[in-house]
Symmetry: C2
Subunit: 293 residues, 2 copies
């Protein structure tokens, strides 16, 4: 069993990005600039945004954090989105989700210029992903692809089972794994809460991607000997023995599943660190105008 | 075994659409208007466009056919697309594919206002389909959904295997069958030319949708007893005994597969007649501004 070290890979990629940024700047180019809009003071969102700002520093990006109080109107928020769309210095930006209930997340997402949508949530980027055109791929699927690549895991013709059909993980992951390129070209099955033969499907998977958000859902008897297991789950399970009061828990019962695997991602330290670095990869693409002019 | 009669269903739907159109017009509303651009004189394209124009007549739609010779420039074509985008009388329009090689199909597709893209090929419609937002669904998947609905075929939790991953059938069909609504909510597997366990996957399918374009590919031993089989294939296989010189042949070896099925679509007369009627359904939606304002 080989552990997929998302933490180490993510550090490595940040170094590669930083080197590329210095090269760009040395050649008289513009330092890529990522902006983030944060509404309110949700603990999780604060943590994520802080981590993104820090990753920008490590990568040598310029970053801007725009804060609104939780009572910001949809109109004010959309007006800021419009401003960032038109700001030539901003290469890409994100609006940290979730947003307060009085604001339509979908409306905000669709207001973002798709050419600056480094989160890859705009319908144009989602559509282009499905069609197989260059686009911004959303962070988690993008990070998983990168892990498969860096560990040179074979995917062609393999049976890839994805647990979960969310818009940000399951569905794009399925589209990517069925593409005619590497990593991809797999036989893809998407299972979810209504799947009748979920356990049987899991047992047949060469590559199992668990993204249901159900802690310890995948047990040893659900995994084939030699399978590659990617654990996307990051549920905060209460744990009084920890200072934080919780333990970040994956969808896979790691202790019993890992001995059967050829490769497996741990939680934490697997897919998690890759999501932020995916955003950095997209920001570099945006800065270099590699996807859209 | 019950035969899914796409021809009868498509006639029925056209009658329903015609009745609705007369209701709209009687209430002082505007008759829906579909325009089609046809470049060159390809036999298949001529046939399809003629069938679409005829279906418009039956539905009570206004239709316009705009012809260009095969040497039309991309610029001229894009200029016509732009004109139709701005023509308030045109509710929806299509550009018949394929286009001559000197014209970028993708560029033309993306130039169409997505609100008039009744073929459902624009990345915004593809993306919205994946996300689960209202959109124009492309003709073949839309027609298959309608057949499943009209025959009240259960889909929730079923194993649905799709053979083929094309942008116009396999991929959107997968996205639709995994949606949290009916018809959908199935466990979806997409197989293709590189799938190693294609036969095994097929044998486990409760619903098998064959869209590979390989005549008679699906044999009896690949189908589970009681399965629902949807045959999307329409390959012209040479046949000297016919006046046309060919026989329209499905991806399923009908004679041997059909006795095992609970439901099956024939070729011709199954999915085929539904594709044009799907375009009519989208045109009605466009005329009534049901998807976009």
């Amino acid at each position: 069993m080989q552990l997929i070290d998302g933490k180490a890979i993510s550090e490595q990629i940040k170094k590669e990005i930083a080197a590329r940024v210095e090269e760009i700047v040395a050649n008289g180019g513009k330092r890529p600039h990522l902006a983030a809009i944060l509404v309110g003071h949700d603990g999780g969102s604060e943590t994520y945004v802080a981590a993104k700002v820090k990753a920008c520093e490590v990568c040598g990006f310029k970053s801007s954090l725009i804060r609104f109080e939780v009572d910001v109107t949809e109109e004010e928020l959309l007006s800021k989105v419009d401003e960032l769309n038109r700001d030539a210095d901003v290469d890409g930006f994100i609006v940290q989700l979730p947003l307060p209930k009085h604001i339509s997340e979908q409306k905000v997402i669709e207001a973002i210029d798709y050419r600056k949508d480094v989160d890859g949530f705009h319908p144009i980027n989602v559509g282009r992903l499905s069609i197989g055109l260059p686009c911004y791929v959303s962070a988690t699927p993008n990070g998983i692809l990168e892990l498969l690549k860096r560990y040179q895991i074979e995917t062609q013709g393999k049976k890839c089972v994805i647990l979960g059909r969310s818009n940000i993980v399951g569905k794009p992951m399925a589209a990517l794994m069925m593409r005619k390129s590497y990593p991809g070209d797999a036989t893809v099955t998407v299972c979810h809460s209504h799947s009748k033969d979920l356990i049987k499907e899991c047992r047949e998977a060469d590559i199992l991607i668990a993204a249901m958000g159900q802690p310890n859902f995948v047990k040893a008897d659900m995994v084939k000997e030699g399978a590659v297991v990617i654990d996307v789950g990051t549920t905060r399970v209460p744990d009084a023995t920890r200072k934080s009061g919780f333990k970040l828990t994956g969808d896979v019962k790691f202790d019993e599943v890992s001995p059967k695997c050829s490769f497996i991602t741990p939680v934490p330290g697997g897919v998690g660190p890759m999501t932020i670095v995916s955003l950095m990869m997209n920001t570099l693409l945006a800065g270099e105008k590699k996807i859209y002019q």
